[in-house]
């Protein structure tokens, strides 16, 4: 779960991180009020989960009421890479002389967190990592000990941060690491961390991604997610408890188990079709879950056909088949053609009892995918 900038900054500020004065606004009037109370110049920043907001016109600087009104009018309601901007953060504009990058993430390969500092802040850190990896100082952190103070210092000195602000930047990194750990983040970063003319250090942006699996112990952050629900279909998937990812194609895909669903997507592509989504309904195959999954995929206007690929493991194939039959009974008529393939335990028994009037039943995974691609208009 990714926090919005304004949410991450709230979390940062609570932890004592130096952040610019700011206020959230949902209308032009609110923007003007906020700007007045903060004092010009201010930055007006779109709060949407989109990278490169600045380049896309989602961030504007305002030095007066007129400019603030103009910025508010242009940003609020704008479409930013498919997301409608409903809120902006109005923030004190920081007068900086230098921009740094500080971040903490989980290094999967090492199985432990890594804290990073770079004196090349304010630009895309992934390009820096590719083009001049030596410009990023890294400290791997032992997860049992947490980050030692010397590690924060060492990262800062190794990154060549100016001596005058080194100790403040080390403090920021320590606070960021502690936040990362306390808040179960998968990623936390400040880019840029601005250095002002009088050697103040200010977190001008704030990124925090929270481990979804840890939200149960971060109730206040979990609440932020509800407040920020995005796409309709994704919200629905969340409600149903499905792992769901929307894609651009027209073959809807339902299956059980992440690897098998991914494989089904890959096969749709392999046979010339275009997958419309990833939808994992998980274990078992209760009629209600099957119906919910069908409902989701049918709600996607792009979908022209559906392939339903289930591997019965502990659950027997005949039980799965009965679940599917009773789920499709809830529809008078299926709005889109559905191809079903059952495998695993008692798969043959299951396929025999499937409601072949309402469904296309196929014997093999490859056959089912090919049939669904055909139903969706054939290979592209």
């Amino acid at each position: 779960m990714r926090l919005h900038e304004y949410q991450a900054k709230e979390v940062f500020a609570e932890a004592g991180m130096p952040t610019p004065e700011s206020a959230l606004a949902e209308s032009t009037d609110e923007v003007l009020d906020a700007a007045e109370s903060i004092g010009y110049p201010v930055a007006v920043k779109a709060q949407v989960h989109v990278g490169g907001r600045g380049k896309a016109g989602g961030i504007e600087l305002a030095e007066s009421d007129d400019e603030a009104r103009e910025a508010a009018d242009s940003i609020l309601g704008m479409d930013l890479k498919g997301y409608t901007v409903e809120r902006v953060l109005v923030e004190q504009a920081v007068d900086f002389v230098d921009e740094l990058y500080v971040g903490v993430t989980m290094d999967r390969g090492a199985g432990e967190p890594v804290a990073m500092v770079s004196s090349e802040g304010g630009v895309d850190i992934e390009s820096v990592a590719e083009e001049s990896p030596e410009a990023i100082a890294r400290e791997h952190v032992d997860p049992a000990f947490g980050m030692h103070h010397y590690q924060a210092n060492r990262a800062v000195y190794d990154a060549g941060v100016d001596r005058e602000v080194a100790s403040d930047v080390a403090s920021v990194l320590t606070t960021l690491f502690d936040l990362w750990e306390d808040r179960d983040a998968s990623e936390a970063e400040i880019n840029p961390l601005m250095i002002t003319g009088d050697d103040e250090v200010v977190a001008a942006d704030a990124v925090m991604n929270i481990d979804d699996d840890a939200l149960f112990r971060q109730p206040d952050l979990a609440e932020m997610e509800e407040a920020a629900a995005g796409d309709d279909l994704e919200a629905k998937a969340n409600e149903y408890g499905f792992d769901y990812v929307r894609l651009d194609g027209n073959v809807g895909i339902i299956g059980n188990g992440a690897g098998l669903v991914m494989t089904t997507l890959d096969l749709v592509d392999y046979y010339g079709g275009e997958p419309a989504n990833f939808l994992d309904i998980g274990g078992g195959a209760k009629a209600e879950r099957v119906a919910n999954a069908l409902d989701m995929v049918f709600s996607d206007d792009n979908v022209d056909s559906v392939v339903f690929n289930l591997f019965g493991g502990i659950t027997r194939g005949d039980e799965v088949a009965r679940g599917i039959n009773s789920a499709i009974e809830e529809f008078d008529e299926l709005p889109k053609p559905v191809v079903v393939r059952l495998a695993g335990t008692n798969a043959e028994e299951g396929m025999e009892i499937l409601n072949a009037d309402a469904l296309d039943v196929e014997q093999t995974l490859e056959g089912a995918v090919q049939r669904a691609v055909e139903q969706a208009g054939g290979a592209q």
Binding site: P113, E130, D213, V245, G259, F278, I314
Partner: protein
Amino acid sequence: MSVLVDEDTRVVVQGITGGEGEFHAGQMMEYGTNVVAGAVPGRGGEEVHGVPVYDTVAGAAEAENADASVVLVPPAFAADAIFEALDSPVDLVVAITEGIPTQDMSRVKKRLGETDKHLVGPNCPGVITPGEAKLGILPGNIFSSGNVGLVSRSGTLTYQVVDNLTDRGLGQTTAIGIGGDPIIGTDFVDALSLFEADPATEAVVMCGEIGGSDEEEAARYIDENMDTPVAGFIAGRTAPAGKRMGHAGAIVSGSGAGTAESKIEALGDAGVPVGDTPEEVADNVEELL
């Protein structure tokens, strides 16, 4: 022959009094697994499926001479359960639980490195040596005994591939589901090295997926250290960057690390044929044997 588990493995089921724990303990026993005890704090002295429950894993393992545990407890308590198992006499811990926070697993991984034990999982279907024992939730009936080792990050994909193998009479020595999380105990290299050392395993199927660089490291390991031939499969060729595909670990990063292409190429370079479909994987195994 087999790796990790066989008919002599003596198993403690952690969480045996829970719904999942009780059901799968029964399934394991039905398959012939030597389940000797359960461990659930506060439930010591009870019985489930005729085996005694203990309050602690150490207590269970000591009293019943167990050497493996299966963790079937909810995600909020699972890391602690793994720590407990690692601090008991068992040598093998199979963690089935899905949804353990990644930072918890980071700490578990550190502790694991301080021991000589094996952890399989979490977020995995378990380990099975067909005809001898299964530790986990795999559907025993689709497996058959033979000379192919299997290691996979995914559950149902494993079943699909095993189904294809079994259809052609290609039985398995042992199948290891290593799990779909970003941080896991046994990784591909660990599992491959077990198969390489097992004389009964004459070919290995390795099912990877997007995310991380375990497959790339496995490719290097295969190239440098393995005589046993390996057939590969990689799921997630069509996955967009930045989206988690069901598994917590199945994600191509925003910067493009962890793609299927990279893994397929690395395996190809190591001489591993990578099938485009599960059928093709079975074809490749037939050729390698």
